[in-house]
């Protein structure tokens, strides 16, 4: 699915990743952990850029269009499948044939009643679930998500991560919370200063084994 060999990348002439090699197979549930600035976001974006046509991403802060409804935000995942004029018409007046599949996704995410509410007026958890709906509508199988649950409470986080694991085949997350990462992934990749320093199955790992990632 994702295959990076000795990749070096960065912005504006400054390298953020140094010689990173990662191989992720279909069906894996991987979490990237590490201090902020360790290169998690860059790595996710890189993986996304190499597989844009069959991967969905939830960027940090979720990348939603606040003044559009939940329906439109989810529908956005498949804009490429319809002609432009049809998308314009659907923006002005949502078509029944398009609403139905989106409504189904929204129902599973508990957003049914909010389907035509602008995303800007939703709670953090609802926004996150809209972003997941969009990602699901777009790819349905592969999800990259950059710290998706760092702005919602523990209860919501667990609910959402469970849902993500149940619906997507392959899941790659960057995680702020190590406990949640251990609980909801089967492989942990630890980054430090732009390099992979831990790459291990989750089973049998204790939180303290990962402490070295957070030390200076």
């Amino acid at each position: 699915m994702f295959d990076l060999q000795n990749v070096t990348a960065g912005y504006g002439g400054k390298d953020v990743l140094h010689g990173v090699s990662i191989h992720i197979k279909k069906g894996e549930r991987v979490s990237f952990i590490g201090k902020s600035g360790a290169g998690k976001t860059t790595l996710l974006q890189l993986m996304y850029d190499k597989n844009r046509s069959n991967t969905a991403i939830i960027p940090q802060d979720w990348g939603l269009v606040k003044s559009l409804s939940v329906f439109h935000n989810i529908y956005m995942g498949k804009l490429n499948e319809k002609p432009t004029w049809y998308n314009i018409a659907n923006l002005i007046h949502p078509m029944a044939g398009e609403v139905e599949p989106v409504r189904e996704i929204a129902c599973k995410l508990g957003l049914e009643e909010k389907l035509f509410t602008p995303v800007g007026s939703l709670s953090g958890g609802q926004k996150l679930r809209t972003a997941i709906g969009r990602a699901f509508y777009r790819s349905g199988s592969v999800l990259l998500a950059d710290e998706p649950v760092s702005a919602v409470d523990d209860h919501q986080s667990r609910e959402v991560l469970q849902y993500v694991n149940d619906t997507f085949e392959t899941v790659v997350l960057s995680m702020h919370d190590v406990d949640l990462a251990l609980e909801y992934s089967d492989r942990i990749i630890g980054l430090k200063d732009g390099q992979v320093v831990v790459d291990t199955p989750t089973r049998g790992i204790k939180k303290s084994d990962l402490d070295k990632l957070y030390l200076n």
């Binding site: 490429n80 314009i88 923006l91």
Partner: protein
């Protein structure tokens, strides 16, 4: 004249209602068409050719466009409509593109790579930029009202037409009456400009304008195919060396006798006006700032600035020229007051968000040591933005008799030498494009932004 100013006469003008209706309708239709055309240009604005085209059409002042279209459509609503819509679409294309560019790119990145450009724009960029776009369009409508009023000076049936004739007859009460009504129209915009009412307004305006134009296609064809072709080429039988030499001589003469003297007057006048604009803005922004004055004095400050910035610089210059005769001083004064009031207003509003320490100084010390340093980058950015506008206006004030480029253009039009007029308009446009580019370069170089620093950049 002073007596006229304090004894406004609101009913001296013939067909007062019709005049205001025309002024508003031309502005409404011109801005609406300009906004729609500008939006479509935004879709292709990433092409260099489109950028240059937009820079070119907005570099030519509404009055020059009006003078051109007068030759084709005569004194009809079509002339007024095009004179506003064309330069405004160039402005809209640029500003809409800038607004869309500043929008959050995160939603865009989540889309499938094969999503069409237009779909991506409409879904991922436009919705969250809409409030900015609407408020800018509304601001432009206010500018459109001023443009529309000024179009009266070339004979179109708007307020400017009656202002000029009232002035000519020394009927100063009528002048002040018209101006006061015009301020009221602008000041009350927030109550009568409603998105829901817009279709109604547009429909009424279109309906009232219909049949206004008997378009003389022959005139139009002759204008573009023959009138604006340089004289030596037009009269030549074939394009040979003699014609070529004639054209060179024609160009040389036009540059030496008109373009060069015009530039020599336009550029220094612009620079002086720019500096005076800055001084006036820095002197007046405290008038509306809560850091310096209480609510009652601030209200007076607001009214003062609203009046000055609602009066088009063209009309201000016209009034000052009536008072002091033709010289550069009235022009500089008009330009500095109008533009200074606009910047003063923007900067003053910005200081409303400043929070003071409990032990901060007051009065002049506060101004010099805290407020001014805080707003200065913003202020400079606005000033550079207005540079191009001041240049455009300086050129146009030539029509009033100051020997800037507009003077030579206007004389060429009245002599029916359209080839010369067209050539000089091109020079003026190039000058504007140059200033626009240079001011953009300086702003980037000095990292000046008109938006408050949000720590992101």
């Amino acid at each position: 004249m002073a007596k006229g100013a304090v004894t406004p006469d609101f009913f001296a003008t013939e067909n007062l209602v019709g005049t205001f209706f025309n002024t508003v309708a031309f502005a409404l239709l011109g801005v609406a068409f300009g906004s729609i055309a500008g939006f479509f240009l935004t879709l292709v604005f990433h092409h260099r050719a489109v950028k240059v085209f937009c820079a070119f059409i907005r570099a030519i002042h509404e009055l020059f466009w009006a003078l051109i279209f007068l030759q084709i459509f005569g004194l009809t609503p079509v002339t007024a409509l095009l004179a506003i819509a064309i330069p405004y679409s160039g402005v809209f294309a640029k500003v809409y593109s800038e607004i869309l560019e500043e929008a959050d790119t995160a939603p865009l990145r989540t889309l499938h790579p094969e999503t069409s450009r237009l779909s991506a724009l409409l879904y991922a960029r436009l919705p969250d930029s809409m409030p900015h776009i609407l408020s800018y369009t509304l601001y432009r409508f206010e500018c459109g009202l001023r443009s529309s009023a000024v179009l009266g000076f070339v004979g179109l049936p708007t307020i400017g037409y009656h202002l000029e004739s009232a002035f000519a007859q020394g009927n100063y009460s009528e002048v002040s009456g018209l101006l006061i009504l015009f301020y009221l129209v602008i000041a009350s915009m927030r109550w009568w400009v409603r998105p829901k009412l817009l279709p109604v307004y547009l429909f009424v305006s279109m309906f009232a304008m219909r049949g206004g134009a008997e378009i003389n296609w022959e005139n139009g064809y002759r204008f573009f195919a023959s009138d604006i072709v340089p004289h030596p080429v037009r009269v030549a039988e074939n394009f040979d060396l003699t014609t070529m030499m004639g054209l060179l001589e024609w160009t040389r003469k036009l540059i030496m006798t008109q373009a060069y003297p015009g530039l020599l007057e336009t550029i220094p006048l612009t620079m002086i006006a720019l500096v005076c604009t800055g001084v006036f803005a820095l002197a007046t922004f405290p008038l509306i700032s809560p850091l310096f004055f209480g609510a009652r004095l601030r209200l007076a400050g607001h009214i003062f600035l609203v009046i000055i910035r609602s009066t088009p610089e063209y009309i201000l210059a016209y009034i000052f020229l009536q008072l002091w005769g033709p010289s550069a001083i009235p022009a500089i004064l008009a330009l500095s007051l109008h533009n200074g009031a606009i910047i003063g207003h923007l900067i003053g509003r910005r200081t409303e968000k400043h929070e003071l320490r409990q032990d901060s100084s007051t009065g002049l010390n506060l101004y010099a040591f805290e407020t001014l340093p805080a707003v200065y980058p913003n202020f400079m950015a606005f000033l550079f933005y207005r540079w191009e506008i001041i240049m455009r206006e300086t050129a146009i004030l030539g029509i009033l008799g100051i020997h800037t480029l507009g003077f030579y253009i206007d004389s060429s039009f009245s002599d029916m030498r359209f080839d010369r007029a067209f050539f000089l308009i091109l020079i003026t446009a190039l000058l504007n494009i140059g200033i626009d580019w240079f001011s953009g370069f300086l702003r980037r170089r000095l990292r000046l932004r008109t938006t408050p620093d949000d720590g992101k950049s």
